[in-house]
């Protein structure tokens, strides 16, 4: 499979926007989950950093696997149905065509993006915790640094969405940060 073939398959199945949507939706899921977890740990009494890392890593892996499998199952079913509909309209067997190859390959790509987005986002967010655990001195509390990183990631996703939608990336980033702030506020109210 080369890049041109992948481009053709994405075009045939009109999957560009689906891949992008999955990346943002699940990336946001991952970032907000990590933010919630770390905020919870920060508000609770002193928790060992290794415990925080283990909990976050466990959640990140679970989000990744859940995203990957759920996207694969739903997308492959959708692609099979779309191919069957097209075969019916064409009154021909398309099993050796680019459409069939796309129907087989695209669910893998979407599953990979859907699983990797929250996993990678989570790994980036817990990086300050790993660094602190490895003995690297940070200018602020590792949990606060991780919370800050989560806000940065969430802002980045918002800015990306603004760019895609042709609106202000700054405004879009601020909107997603506002959602994250509201999440932190709700968690703080529940913890108090």
């Amino acid at each position: 499979m080369d890049f041109q073939q992948l481009k053709l398959w994405l075009h045939l199945t009109r999957s560009h926007s689906i891949v992008r949507r999955y990346f943002v939706v699940n990336g946001f899921d991952g970032a907000l989950t990590m933010l919630g977890l770390i905020t919870g740990f920060h508000l609770s009494d002193k928790t060992q950093i290794t415990v925080v890392i283990s909990a976050c890593l466990g959640a990140a892996v679970a989000l990744g696997i859940s995203g990957m499998t759920s996207a694969y199952l739903s997308e492959s079913a959708e692609r099979r149905k779309a191919l069957a509909d097209l075969e019916e309209a064409m009154v021909t067997d398309l099993s050796n065509s680019a459409h069939a190859n796309a129907a087989r390959a695209i669910p893998f790509l979407i599953a990979l993006v859907n699983g990797a987005a929250p996993l990678l986002m989570s790994l980036v967010i817990i990086t300050p915790l790993w660094l602190a655990n490895a003995g690297v001195s940070l200018p602020l509390d590792p949990l606060l640094a991780a919370i800050g990183t989560a806000f940065l990631c969430i802002f980045g996703l918002g800015a990306f969405l603004g760019n895609v939608g042709g609106t202000s990336w700054l405004l879009s980033g601020i909107k997603t940060v506002a959602i994250a702030l509201a999440t932190v506020l709700i968690i703080s109210l529940l913890e108090s």
């Binding site: 075009h11 045939l12 509909d85 097209l86 309209a89 064409m90 009154v91 021909t92 065509s97 459409h99």
Partner: protein, 87 residues
């Protein structure tokens, strides 16, 4: 040597790839000129009249390319060949 110079084909294809992309893919099959006319448009398919002109067309390659992109060759409506001696 008999050479295939011109073909007129009746082809049914899905909406994707578009007629332009479909024509380009056919033109990539050799040195040829491709003309495509959309005869009918349905909900999921398009019926095309495809004319291909070249100095020595490879019909099998053209047919494979049509199938590979999910289209279906319904009939060969016109053919032109020549038997000019190769120099």
């Amino acid at each position: 040597m008999v050479r295939l110079k011109h073909l007129r084909l009746d082809v049914l294809k899905p909406h994707h790839p578009s007629v332009i992309e479909f024509s380009k893919i056919l033109a990539e099959q050799g040195e040829c000129r491709v003309r495509v006319m959309v005869l009918e448009m349905d909900e999921k398919t398009e019926t095309l009249e495809v004319e291909i002109e070249g100095s020595n067309l490879d019909f099998d390659q053209i047919q494979s390319a049509i199938s590979a992109i999910g289209a279906s060759l319904h009939s060969i409506d016109a053919v032109e060949v020549d038997s000019a001696k190769s120099t």
